[in-house]
Amino acid sequence: MGELRLMKGNEAIAEAAIRAGCDAYFGYPITPQSEIIEYLAAEETHKRTGMVLLQAESEIAAINMVYGAASTGKKVMTSSSSPGISLKQEGISYIAGAELPCLIVNVVRGGPGLGTIQPSQADYFQATKGGGHGDYRLIVLAPASVQEMSDFVKLAFDLAFKYRNPAMILSDGMIGQMMEKVELFDPVPRNTEFDQSWVITGKTADRERNIITSLHLESASMEKHNQELQKKYIQMQEQEVRIEKIQCEDAEFLFVAYGSSARICQKAVDLARAEGIKTGLLRPQTLFPFPTKEIEKMAGQVKGILTVELSMGQMVEDVRLAVNGKIKVEFYGRAGGMIPTPEEVLKAMKQKIIGG
């Protein structure tokens, strides 16, 4: 068993990054995720593993530092919260276009605009449908516990390198700020072996020049590049979907929720079962690739689905696409940093699905 600690979600991300052999972090502080950079600074990563820690002059600078460092085949990351992530979108689009691996953490706060510092899940569209310009996808992981904040850092790096694609951890102020018991994984050294045939670290006489770019001026070449990217995304959809099912075996009514709202729904499932209502919870751990097939399958079993989000309704669109009209899919959510209680969520299930 690994080392047990009581940690904030944000601290768990930072500790996991060091342990995953991350080479560099570039970022700019913003609530509610500043503990990530604070923790890394306090740990003196340059002494511990040699990991570079740099507070950039802005979010835009930070993401472009990630772009540059990732081009050299290093394991690099950045983190921010909603308005900061919006600033990074141009860079993220370039990184996705140039097919570089990296980790981007978004500890979401309420929006739009400068918004609030309280938890929210209103960046679902931005995270899963692209965010920046062009036809691209991020691998999006949604942790629902401090344990997963740690575990998903390692997973995100693994997937990012496997597909040479940026991976995002989409968390929120609730999971970021709360403390739970976390079992830390054993540290892996930096500079672990992987395919480095594409990196730009100086051309040697025995190989062709490597070029990292997202610029393809000829339409035919640009289209071909898009087709290659799509192949990657399809492969992700076939191989990388991850979900957790809670009390789904005999469920008649289903909650679909991710991250912090999944935790609230889990309690609502218990409350419902205490009243004799058979509910279950399907929790996507990957938001892209989305568990379309798994939800479609559940639509053959349950009578109705309630999607719960800390937003005005975003993931519910993907749930409806998966269900394709087979059964009723309704939405319940709070926005702007307000968090529903398990009782409120159960009430919505009764009113919108069971009674309706």
Binding site: L6, I117, G173, M174, Q177, E180, K181, T341, P342, E343
Partner: protein, 195 residues
């Protein structure tokens, strides 16, 4: 066993660290814990609260609407959280600065005058440990030895010499906590009713 607790008071009273020590102590007993602070654009002197859940099983929602125990350290928090204690639940409060005392009859109410007691000790900073002691007297969910272990784990080494003082405060809290029956408070505190 699952114990759902809210600890609420002013920022600076040690509300969050009390919750943290309770979590560490429970971890020493291999229990599951969650610590969810109210975080916001609040300043010193504002209200602070933390939801602590201790359980033998995996914890679902870290945010709750009702609590087994409410530990209340100021009037605003008493007004806000007294109605949220589950029936037959427990409310523990410090009487300092309280003008409207708890009134519910379907819950168990305990008073611990920790502010007054802390003033008599070597440092008033042990205030929150007196409160924690009172809680553990009423709900002995964590052994005192595990609280000491938890303190060792959560405090930086340079403060370890203060652990005996904290232990003394915990024990003092256990001694001075007393059960309150709301009726009596209303009768004695209301002058009109008394005459």
């Amino acid at each position: 066993m699952t114990e759902e607790i809210i600890i609420a008071g002013f920022g600076g009273q040690g509300v969050l660290s009390m919750g943290k020590i309770l979590c560490y102590s429970s971890m020493m007993q291999n229990q599951e814990v969650s610590w969810m602070p109210s975080y916001g654009p609040e300043m010193r002197g504002g209200t602070a609260n933390v939801t602590v859940i201790i359980s033998d099983e995996k914890i679902s929602s870290p945010i709750l609407n009702s609590y087994d125990t409410a530990i209340i350290l100021n009037q605003q928090s008493l007004d806000k959280f007294e109605p949220k204690v589950k029936p037959a639940g427990t409310l523990i409060y410090d009487g300092n600065g309280i003008t409207r005392h708890p009134e519910r009859k379907d819950i168990k109410i305990y008073r611990v005058d920790a502010t007054k007691e802390a003033a008599k000790m070597d440092t008033v900073k042990v205030f929150n440990m007196i409160i924690l002691g009172a809680f553990l007297k009423i709900k002995p969910i964590v052994k005192l030895e595990n609280v000491i272990k938890g303190l060792k784990k959560s405090l930086p080494k340079r403060y370890h010499h203060l652990i005996p003082l904290n232990q003394k405060a915990l024990e003092r809290g256990m001694e001075i906590v007393k059960n309150i029956i709301p009726d009596k408070i209303i009768k004695t505190s209301s002058f009109k009713k008394a005459i």
